[in-house]
Assembly symmetry: C2
Homo-oligomer: 386 residues x 2
C-alpha cells in the first residue's frame, strides 16, 4: 500500500514521443539533430539553447521510451515516478500551436501513466504519474490556460503542472496570471517550478567550462529569481493554498532568504507590501531534495522549519519537532533523470545515489523523516493513495 516504504521520484523528465518528433522537425533550438561521430556512427543530439556549449548533448531512448524509464526506476529501486516534460516545454511556440500541443501532450502523458504497470498485483497504485503542461506563451488567452488547467485536473494520473519562469512573457509575477493561480490552487494541483533560461550567458565568461556554469548556477539563479518575484508580487498572500514545488531544492533561495528579508525591510518601495516577513513564504513552498549534499538538505529543512516556528507559516500537518524535522515534511526525493547520466558505464547513476546518500546523512533527520523525504511526503502531497 501507499503508506508503505516507497521511493518516489518527483523530479524525472521525459520528452514524450510526440514532442521528440516535433523537436526533430525543427531547424533552430530547441531541436534534436543527427550528427556523425568521429568513429563514423550516427548519433542524435539535443540542442536546448542556441548558444549551448559543446553542440548540445547526446540524446537517446531514455528521453522518450517508457520502458527505459521503468528500467532506470528498477535499477535504482524507485517504486513510483511523477514524470514531467523536460524544458523548454512549449515556450517557443505560437499560442495556437502551444494550446493544441499542450492538450495532446497531456493526453499522451495520461496514457503513459495510466497504462503503466501497477505497483503490485494487489495495488491500485501505478508506477507512473505525471505533471501536465500549460501553453504558457506570449499572446495566449487566459481562457486557453484555464481550459488546460481544467483538462489536467480531470486526467486522473496527472497530479500537477510543470512550468518554467516566463509565464506569458512577463514572468510569473504578472497580474494577468491571477485567474490561473486561483484555478490551480482550487484544483489542488502542485506546480513544479523548473528553470530553463538561466541568466544572460555573458556572466559565464569566455572559458570553456562545459555546461557547468549554466546548469549549476544559471538554473538555480533562475528559480531563485522567479520565486522571489512571486513572493514580492504577493501571490502567496492572495493564494495561501497554492502549492509550488521548487526544482533543485529552491536553488539559492534558502541561503538568500534572510538577506532578502533585510533588503525588503530596508527598501521604501516594498517595505510595507507583504503580509509577512519574506522568510515566512519559504514555509509555504515545497522543495525537491535534489541538492546532492546532506548539509544542503538539512539547511533547506532548517529554513522551512524556521518559517513555521519563527514566522508562523503552516506546519503542513507537523506541528512539533525541531525545525529540521518539521521542514523535512516539505521536501521530496528526485533524480533529474535522464539528465546527469554517468560519464562512464556504471550500475547505478551517481546523480541518484548521491541524492539518496544525502538524504540518509542529514544530521537531525530521523528514520521517519528520511522515509518521508524518500516517498512518504510525495504520497501525501500528491495524493498517491487515492
Amino acid at each position: 500500500m501507499a503508506a508503505q516504504r516507497l521511493l518516489v521520484d518527483i523530479h524525472t523528465h521525459v520528452y514524450l514521443p510526440r514532442y521528440a518528433s516535433f523537436l526533430r522537425s525543427r531547424s533552430a533550438a530547441p531541436r534534436i539533430f543527427t550528427r556523425t561521430t568521429p568513429t563514423g556512427t550516427k548519433e542524435e543530439r539535443l540542442l536546448i539553447l542556441d548558444d549551448e556549449p559543446s553542440g548540445g548533448r547526446p540524446i537517446g531512448a531514455q528521453y522518450w521510451d517508457r520502458d527505459e524509464k521503468l528500467k532506470f526506476m528498477d535499477r535504482h529501486g524507485i517504486n513510483v515516478s511523477i514524470v514531467s516534460s523536460a524544458n523548454p516545454w512549449l515556450d517557443f511556440l505560437p499560442a495556437s500551436t502551444a494550446h493544441q500541443l499542450a492538450g495532446e501532450l497531456n493526453e499522451d502523458l495520461e496514457s503513459y501513466c495510466s497504462t503503466s504497470p501497477s505497483l503490485s498485483s494487489s495495488d491500485t497504485l501505478k508506477r507512473l504519474y505525471g505533471f501536465g503542461l500549460l501553453p504558457l506563451v506570449p499572446e495566449v488567452s487566459i481562457n486557453s490556460l484555464l481550459e488546460i488547467v481544467d483538462q489536467i485536473s480531470k486526467l486522473p494520473h496527472l497530479r500537477g503542472i510543470i512550468m518554467g519562469t516566463r509565464g506569458i512573457g512577463n514572468g510569473l509575477d504578472d497580474e494577468a496570471l491571477e485567474p490561473v493561480w486561483e484555478a490551480i490552487a482550487k484544483a489542488g494541483l502542485v506546480v513544479f517550478l523548473h528553470p530553463h533560461y538561466g541568466v544572460d550567458s555573458s556572466a559565464w565568461g569566455a572559458k570553456d567550462n562545459g555546461h557547468v556554469l549554466p546548469l549549476a548556477l544559471g538554473f538555480t539563479f533562475e528559480t531563485t529569481t522567479a520565486t522571489t518575484r512571486l513572493i514580492l508580487s504577493g501571490v502567496f498572500d492572495r493564494h495561501p493554498t497554492l502549492r509550488i514545488l521548487l526544482a533543485h531544492s529552491g536553488g539559492a533561495l534558502p541561503q538568500l532568504s534572510s538577506r532578502l528579508a533585510s533588503c525588503i525591510d530596508h527598501d521604501p518601495v516594498v517595505a510595507s507590501r507583504l503580509k509577512h516577513d519574506a522568510r515566512y513564504y519559504l514555509g509555504k513552498l515545497y522543495f525537491d531534495a535534489v541538492a546532492y549534499g546532506p548539509e544542503e538538505l538539512g539547511f533547506v529543512s532548517d529554513v522551512i522549519g524556521r518559517s513555521v516556528f519563527k514566522y508562523g507559516s503552516d506546519a503542513d500537518g507537523f506541528s512539533s519537532g525541531t525545525k529540521k524535522v518539521v521542514g523535512s515534511s516539505r521536501m521530496l526525493f528526485g533524480t533529474d533523470h535522464p539528465f546527469f547520466p554517468p560519464l562512464k558505464e556504471t550500475d547505478k547513476w551517481k546523480s541518484v545515489t548521491e541524492n539518496l546518500e544525502a538524504i540518509e546523512s542529514v544530521e537531525g533527520w530521523g528514520e521517519v523523516e528520511k522515509e518521508n523525504v524518500r516517498g512518504g511526503n510525495a504520497v501525501r502531497i500528491f495524493g498517491l493513495g487515492s
Copy 2:
C-alpha cells in the same frame, strides 16, 4: 590588547573625499548629483548604475566623513573597522587615471587609518584599518597592478585589497592575472571579493521592487559566479596560500556547492581538471558573516567544516570540533555600513543588530566561536595584533 574581546567590522565602506569629489564631477553613473526634494531642500544622491531604480539613493556625510564612521562604530560597540572603498571602485576609468587614482586613494586610506584614534591609550591598535584598491580596468598593464600591490603591501594600515569581479575586463579567471594572484598571496594580503554588477537586469522583470532584486539576488549571484569561475580556473590549486574573503557570506555558493561538484563530475569538459572536489575549495575561502540569519551562518560554517573533514582542506589552525565549530574560524562579522540605513530614525541600525543577533543565535557555535566570528578571527587573519 588585540586578543581581548573585540568587535571588528570587516565589511564597511567609504567613498574617500577624493573619490566623492570625483563622482561629483561626473555626468554619467557612477555619479553624485544634487536634486531638490519635494519639500524644497537640496539633497545629494548617489547613482551607482545608470539603470538604477528610484533615481539612486540619498548620500551624505556617513559615506565620506571619518567622524561619522567612528560615531557609527561607537553607537554599535564596534572597536575596529577594516574599511574598504565602496563599489564600483575604479572600474569605469581609463587605465592611466585608474592607476594614478588607485595610488592616491591608497595613500588617502592609509592616512585615514593611521591618524585614527588608538583603541586605548595603552594600545598600539588603531580603530581603523583598510583594504586598498587596484586599478583593475581593461588595458591596464600587469606591471601597473603589481606596482600597486607592492604599494599596498608597504602601507602598514592596509591589510588587504577589495576588488570587484571583472578583473581587467575578462573576469577573475583570466590567465593574465596569474602574476597578480601570486604577488597578493606572497604579500599575505586578503582579497575582499565584492559584487557590483549583479546580473543582466532583464531578469528582474517590469515591476518596481525597488533595489531588492539587484541587491538581494544580483549581488550574491555575481559573487557566486566569480568565485565559481575562480575555482574552475584552478587558481586555488595554483595558489594555495591565496586568501579570498567573500562578501555576503559567499552569496549562494555554499548552497550550490554540492550541485556544482555534481555538475563538474558529470561534464566531460571539466571532470578531470581540478585537484579536488569543488567543495574542498570552500574550506580555502573566508566568508563575512553578513547573511542576516543564524541558520544561514550556521550552514556556511557547516560547508566550510565539511571541506576540512570530508575533502581534506586546511583547518586554519582548528583541527578538532564539529564542522560548524571548525567552519566558524573562517567567518567574520561585518555591517555593510553605510548601506542599509534604517528607514526610520533608530538608535541602532537593524542591519547591524540583525547580524549580531544571528551570530549569537547560531546553533552549534559556543561562546568561543561567537567571539571569534565577532572579532577574534579578524584579529588573527588580518594580523591586527601586530
